[in-house]
Amino acid sequence: MFRINLRLLLFTCILCMGFNVYAQQRVIHIVDEQTSDVIPGAKVVLLNKGDQIFYSNENGEVLVTEMGDLTLYIEAFQYQFTTTVLASNQDFKLVQLKTGNEVMDDILITTSNTNLKRTKDSSVLVQVISGAKLSESGFTGIQDALMSEIPGMNFQKVGFGTDVNVGGLDARNILFLIDGEKLTGEMAGNLDYQRFNIHSVDHIEIIKGASSILYGSMASGAVINLITKKTDQKFALTAGVRYGEMNQRNYKNPKKSDFLYMFEKNVDRPNLQGWLSMGSNLGKVTLQTDVQYTSTDAYYLFQSGYDKKTFRKNPTIGLLRDTVITSFIERPPLGIEGDEFVNVSQKVYYDVNDNLHFQAYGTYFFMNSYDLIQDLIFNQTEDFSGGFKMKYKIKNIGELSASVHVDNYKRFKRHERIDERKKLYDSKLVQPRLKFVSTYFEQHELTLGVEQNEEKLISDRFGREGTLTERESKEIEAFVQEEYSGIERTKIALGIRSSYNELFGTNVSPKFSVKYDLKEQFSFRFTYAKGYRIPTIKEKFFDWDHLGMFQIVGNPDLKPEKNTYFSFSTEFQNSSLFVNFNAYTNYFKDKIEGVWRVFEFQYNFEYQNLNTSNLRGFDVLGKVKINPNFNVNWSYSYVKVSKTKGVQLNTASPHNANIQIEYNFSRLNYDLRAGINTNIIGAKKFNVQDKLMINGKAQDAYFEVDLPTYTMSNLVVNQTFYKHYKLTLGVDNVFNYKPSLLGAGVAMFNIPATPGRRWFVQVEYKF
């Protein structure tokens, strides 16, 4: 009897252990929905268990030991992501993934209306960069992130800040948004791009081509919309610190007795960044706070030798042979300013019920810019923005959304020896908006909207006396868009926007796009859109005398710049390759440009509507998964820009490419990701307006700038320990590229501002 009981006890124990083992090893099996083939290398994130990440093995299985309900997020290359729940009473879950055909990271986007929709379903080509990817790349700002993703995109530090251009377009044709809201405070179309906190970004949406129908003026070339984080967890926290090697040490031991003591300290600030992102979902109320501090040091770029300007022969002005003019003074070093800035943002969401939602938000940005000019002055920038949003779902009729967005941007000059500052620039934007999206009729989605843009600008550059003067601009805009999906495999979007400006009258912009899925693997998109850009307040009213040397003069008679955009895109994929091809043309009419005009004894820089400018080109984007550990992303862009009266004024490079190689490795409580990202900016040739003395008479002439191809590569290694601690080591500009030519005229706007190879280290904690 005793023996029997012992055996029974032993059997029971083994059985229990077996159960224990079985209970701890819960299996998630991931397969292709159509073929039932197992999917190795799929990424599984346990959303309610601290975002723990697992990868499926060769059998498409993920073994987890966590108990209770598990909320799973699953993604795999060339498949659409999915979320599902492994219930506490389940030990096995079969997950079937649908194939996806997007080259972009396949996540939810906010394109044309208040509903979230997937990029695959969008009738417009949208490129999406996920926030997680930005964080892993060790970038300090969105400039680096966008340059690494968009071939040919360049952010250059120049005299007045940072200048952006891409594919023949400059900042005046690229609209930057945060959560769909505009920012004020532009300088030649450029914003302080430091205002975008890279660590608060959930994802970035990039829409190429004219999108004025939805976004209004300035959306004539591209729209870059940063969607910020909103946590869905009870408590989420990310905190990190990044330290980078100094660009250049300018002063070793600044002393308090130094005349330029503050200047000396400021231009040698450490390359530091700290960030904190905190969110809490308390049921009906969700809070999200993001704080970021960054400082960078200033440095010089050097050119050995003298500037040379090559003028090609032009008998009409008496230039009978090619002529090279060499500058008689050495090119001085080009100072690249450092800066120090803080971003704070707070959002509060209140979900009354499933149908009614409120949001209030506010952001504060403060920046000191430290240039290398020893003039006892540095620039200070301050910005407050905020707003209120409401969404109300009216039964099955549709959803009404209302919002008011305000932004106030100020720029000051601050003394380096006396505690005082002087305001030079104060720009205010108020933008109320009302939008209604109806899905009442099946297969129809109708969007109606009305919004107002009211902008006021106070500047010391609207009058000859340098006094602060206020100017304003006001537009009322209405738009309607219909998306129809009643035809099999086809999605059609048709819309029109009407804009009324008290100075320019009414402007109408239509848009039509269609997406056709030939097969699950093949789809085509065609887009026709009209865009427009209303002249800025500065372009209309600027009146500034630069030390008696020249004047920058606005033109109140400017007409809105208009453009027509056509694009055709298609996608192809097989089991290991994905390629997206997009060809486009963009015809600009009445393009607004600043040109030098010579009067008696006086040069003026004046804004004018030039005749036409055409951009034609194509982009190819691809993604290859070599094996579960290796990914390669690449893109190539070609653009051909028309000449103006035989002269190439546009500084675009025809050929640009990006390539990213990623290696991933995962073990229990340890993840490794290594990546190298290379941007290739092709050679470029353009002309710059100048004056040439021929036979004793000054003639208008253009010299030729010929800039060589260059590449910039970044290497990053991320290690994540215990799912919470991330250590990132990286090297910017791995191959130590330094521009040898700073160039004359506008050439310096096309020189990459890099001090050469610099390493960095980054530590991040995620709760």
Binding site: G335, D375, H415, F599, F605
Partner: protein, 238 residues
């Protein structure tokens, strides 16, 4: 390992939060103990003459092109050549000594290099074989008024300022060595001192002064002003 990582969490959080107040501006420099020019000099030959021996400016109030004599302009262009009552003169960022083509004096300049101003205390520190550089021909910026005046004689209507080549230039005389004391470049306009200590020999050739150009700007500069009241230190050494 996990325990160790947990312990660094508060450190990361602390560092992150600690950065936020770093954006404050702190005015902790010591008061300025140098000198400033009494007035801004203008384009063309508007020279501000300085007698170092008596620590006195000859024309501290007059301005404009010093071609014509007026009540507040006791010295006009050309007249300085025969006078020994000045040792050094300033026109914008150009500096003359009473030597060479600028004046018949025994003046000149010698560069002691990027050394501390306080470290130069005695003429014995000047190398025995030191060659003092004397004045020669240089280009200076012509005033807009002079350009219009001269152009009207020839019918030339070219602008005074050219976006690629800057304002019109004219020939004058100055000290080439001291041209390095404050170098101009731009745009944007930048005045870069060399922070070298220069030895200035007096017009009579028997006294020596150390000169350090500190800045194109004066410490009390009002925001929006373009500078020109040069900050400098200058003392006689024996």
């Amino acid at each position: 390992m996990k325990k160790y990582l947990d312990s660094i969490t508060p450190f990361v959080l602390f560092l992150t939060l600690a950065f936020v107040p770093m954006g404050c501006v702190e005015y902790d420099a010591l008061p300025y103990d140098g000198k400033n020019l009494p007035r801004l000099t203008e384009y063309s030959n508007d020279w501000l003459y300085y007698n170092l021996r008596e620590d006195k400016f000859l024309n501290p109030f007059s301005s404009g092109d010093s071609l014509f004599r007026s009540a507040d302009r006791p010295i006009v262009e050309g007249e300085q050549k025969d006078r020994l009552d000045w040792d050094i003169a300033f026109n914008r960022f150009n500096i003359r000594t009473n030597s060479g083509l600028s004046g018949k004096g025994q003046g000149g300049a010698y560069d002691m290099g990027a050394v501390s101003y306080e470290s130069i205390t005695s003429i014995s520190q000047i190398p025995k074989q030191a060659l003092f550089v004397t004045d020669t021909v240089i280009s200076i910026t012509m005033s807009q008024e002079q350009w219009i005046l001269e152009s009207s004689k020839t019918g030339n209507t070219d602008p005074w300022f050219d976006p690629n080549n800057g304002p019109k230039q004219m020939k004058s005389t100055a000290n080439l060595l001291l041209a390095n004391a404050l170098r101009f470049s731009g745009p944007p306009p930048s005045y870069q001192p060399s922070f070298h200590v220069y030895i200035i020999r007096s017009a009579e050739g028997n006294r020596f002064f150390k000169l350090l150009i500190i800045s194109w700007y004066n410490p009390e500069l009002e925001i929006g002003e373009s500078g020109g009241l040069i900050s400098y230190k200058c003392d006689e050494i024996f």
